[in-house]
Amino acid sequence: MSLITTLARLEAVTTGRARPTATVRHRHLSERPLVFVPLTTAGEAGAPLGALVGTDRDAPRLLVVPQPRDRELRFAFLAELADVVLPYLDSYADVVEAAERSETDPETGRRVKVEVELCADAPQLIVPSRAGVDFVRLLGRSMRFRRTAEQDPETPYPAPPRVPLLGRWLTHYGERSRVPGSSLLAAMTELLGRHWATGQSSLEDQHLGAQLAWIAPPPGETGAEAALRAELARDAAGQLLCPPAGPATDPAFDNKLLAPAIERYDRARTALAAAEDGLQADDRLGALTAAEREIRELVRSRTLPTWDKVWEGLDLLRALPEGAHVEERWTRDRWSFTGHRDRVVAGEPPQPRRDDAVTAANKLAGREREQARLEAQEALDDPLVMAGRRLAGEAFAGEVVDVVMAYSESKRPSPRPLVTVRTDDRPHLGERAKVFRSLGGKPQAAEFVGRDGEEEDGLLVLRIVDKMGRGKEPEAGSVPEKGDRLCFTLFEHEQRGGAKLPDPEDTPWTHGGPPGEQVPEVPDSVTQEDVL
């Protein structure tokens, strides 16, 4: 945790209200996000209990699995989910704009520009918490290798049509959410945590209710009191007033309400199966429907408060103006969405269970680049974030007090003006350290020459080394002038592309050699737990 975040948290404790840690919004928010509030069954990994899902705040769609251990019911749930999610995704797939991408020409081996389609916007999935993101990934993993009866008539338990496709999309979204700064799939607690510091630990911040209680406490109450109430307060029946954001449910709910309801449902189902005539069956069907409705109401009662809180969170975030670089990062999300759309259309197989060596290395390198880019861009977009970097000695701001023209000692001397900046910051400047400032959106580099006077004077002498044009005299406006207020960073503003890794079929001997032809992966084998 950085020093400025620690300070913000301490301030939050003393004032009883969360402190902003950003002045702009650093993540993209869609006009029409799809909010997904899933619940899972305790003790059954990957067995969904139900969900609220939809793009309309006032009309969420409730999906419920009355007996989460029943494969047929689970498939029905997933098919319903696909019916909500896939049309939403599709609605973005066809609106495209023309874009250029450089590709390697297979014949000449040269990099050439190719005209391609880029989706004009991309669908955005919002879940309440980090655990929700993991659950999306898990759902994707459990679905994408399933076979439908159409794909494989022999398959013993065919999945409903479109369920494997939903699995591929959820997998893609889950994987994309691992890229720093990406917004295709976002967790509300993470979004809020990026923009506000509460007076509780980051672990406690994963409780959406408690986190919101700090950010917007009810009138007359401090954040700490409201958060404690959100976390612990129970009604007369012993149920939490503010259910956890899921997907895990509260044990008191599981034991006192859900388990008996599911048992009643099971009994009704067994009774229906044992009905001896039509009249009896009608009666018992009525009982079964009633039992199912009861479970639906239970699931609704636990997801609706979270659903509302996610939208409250969106309101809070929308009130912030968007950061300058957010659009650029969202464009990369759009590329990611378009790329997967194309892979699906081209009939490529689902994402493999494990990445091969080259893919894994490429993904890691890409994410490291994105992380560095994100940190730089957030600081450049937001003075409050930059203040944190300044406090950490990674940047400094100050006034130009002197500019002396100087030239490089080469055959064609280029301008190398010496700029003296007075700053109250204490940057960790090493000998000849490189620093950067933003000049018309592009970084201009300078070199730390030394201090003028004592350290307390805060006079830093810098030599500007680029972005002054080709001539002997620097271009107008490219050299700071006396009186300018400038902010220099010790970190680079833009990331260099990494080295190109070998193609997977050229994986070297140190990494096990080429992975071989990709074979279609079989679905997970059926275990006893699957057929309870």
Binding site: R178, R354, A357, A361, A392, H428, P502, G512
Partner: protein
């Protein structure tokens, strides 16, 4: 006693080196792995192997991890064999290499690999090599500091050579990534794991060697470092207890700092223990204590006697280093030293001190003053690097109560299936070092 008498460090080290060179030059395996404890002559081995490969007429590329390491290797090669043409492949940034190289007539420097073609030895960093494309791979490569290289770094350069000698210290800091790589944990080619673990997972039959003697660590330090950090691959010191001495012209003034210096000079270790307290990372009192110890070390006219020369050499600023866990701590110590008027003392983090050697080190304990013990602060390699940079003595500055802190924070990192569990874990190693330091404790209230 007979085994002790029969163990001559020089002979044992020579035997190990000979076996390594035999496998490298005449073996059939595509790779040879050498584990080297701190100061066991790793660089000497790399230089020797490079010279012998060059002599045998095999074109060689050398991969090191940092520019400083590359420049150091080039200089060492030039010292050993000034006639040998060496290529230094460098980046196209400003000041890409140490200016010292300009004075070496047979060292050719270029940012383009093609301009260095045909030279017997070409040296560069892994990052630079990753951008090189060749039609014909090099017949041989030496990968230095291979345990500090990431698996994806090796993936990028492994296509450049046919076979390679991998040399490194398994006990030092593992490579790290600024983003999480848990999704690949357990895969043999986990890109954030070390290059050697990937290499051995795919090629378990490769010959593995170990250098058995640390020439840097004194007899007082080798057993502790070996037991705490290398319990299954022990090594010993190349020198005996009487071989090295540290003495001071100015007697102690009775202060805690002077007492801890005397204790360290006498026994090789000193623990300056400040009163227990939770502090920010740049604990002003501890930082000041570190700076004061350094100041007194230099003021008291230290002299180091060792097997290298018959006469004592004065303990100057360039022979002393300060090690910390974080960069802001290093910056704070630098500022404190500047205030006390002490220039030219190396102050850096464990990461950057890797591979360096000094007569005396002063370290700020990674857990000093902390309310919690995170995986970062418990990392075995961090403490190992900090505790194994010295030839004579090491002074540790620490708040009291680290033992209790360790007991309150046992290792709770999730165990990933398929990964090699590293022994010892940081918790255990920290306790081992702390138990030993307790015998050399000087309590001090600043």
């Amino acid at each position: 006693m007979t085994t002790e008498a029969a163990f001559d460090p020089g002979t044992a080290a020579t035997r190990a080196t000979d076996a390594i060179l035999r496998d490298t030059l005449h073996g059939s395996a595509r790779g040879v792995v050498v584990d080297s404890p701190p100061g066991a002559g790793k660089s000497t081995l790399v230089v020797r192997a490079a010279l012998e490969l060059a002599e045998a007429g095999r074109p060689l590329m050398v991969v090191a991890q940092t520019n400083a390491q590359v420049d150091d290797l080039v200089v060492r090669l030039a010292v050993k064999n000034p006639e040998l043409p060496v290529g230094r492949l460098h980046s196209s940034d400003a000041d890409p290499y140490d200016k010292v190289l300009d004075e070496l007539p047979n060292v050719r420097k270029s940012a383009k690999a093609a301009e260095l073609g045909g030279l017997p030895v070409v040296i560069s960093t892994a990052a630079k090599w990753a951008h090189v494309k060749v039609d014909e791979p090099w017949r041989h490569a030496i990968v230095d500091e291979a345990y500090q290289m990431r698996s994806d770094g090796l993936l990028a350069v492994a296509g450049l050579f046919e076979r390679a000698l991998f040399v490194g210290d398994p006990g030092q800091l593992d490579p790290f990534s600024i983003v999480g790589g848990e999704q690949w944990a357990g895969l043999s080619y986990d890109p954030s794991a070390s290059a050697v673990s990937t290499l051995l997972a795919h090629n378990p039959e490769l010959p593995q060697h170990r250098l058995p003697v640390s020439w840097r660590l004194p007899a007082s330090a080798a057993p502790l470092v070996s037991d705490a950090f290398y319990p299954y691959t022990p090594f010993r010191s190349g020198t005996g207890h009487g071989d090295r001495r540290l003495s001071f012209a100015v007697p102690a003034d009775g202060s805690g700092t002077d007492r801890v210096i005397d204790e360290a000079a006498e026994s090789g270790w000193g623990l300056l223990e400040l009163p227990a307290r939770h502090t920010p990372r740049t604990d002003p009192e501890a930082v000041r204590a570190v700076a004061t110890v350094v100041r007194r070390l230099l003021d008291r006219g230290g002299a180091a006697t060792s097997e290298l020369s018959p006469d004592p050499t004065p303990l100057t600023a360039d022979r002393v280093a300060v090690g910390t866990a974080h960069r802001d701590q290093a910056a704070a110590v630098r500022a404190a030293l500047a205030e006390l008027g002490v220039p030219d003392v190396t102050v850096d983090t464990a990461n950057r001190l890797q591979g360096m050697e000094f007569d005396v080190t002063v370290i700020l304990h990674p857990l000093s003053g902390r309310p919690d013990a995170t995986a970062f602060h418990l990392e075995t390699g961090r403490l190992c690097v900090l505790a194994s940079r010295h030839r004579h003595a090491c002074v540790v500055v620490c708040r009291a109560g680290v033992g209790d802190l360790l007991d309150a924070y046992p290792s709770t990192e999730p165990v990933q299936l398929g990964t090699l569990v590293k022994f010892p874990d940081g918790w255990e190693a920290n306790h081992a070092v702390l138990a030993h330091l307790a015998e050399h404790r000087v309590a001090w209230r600043p």
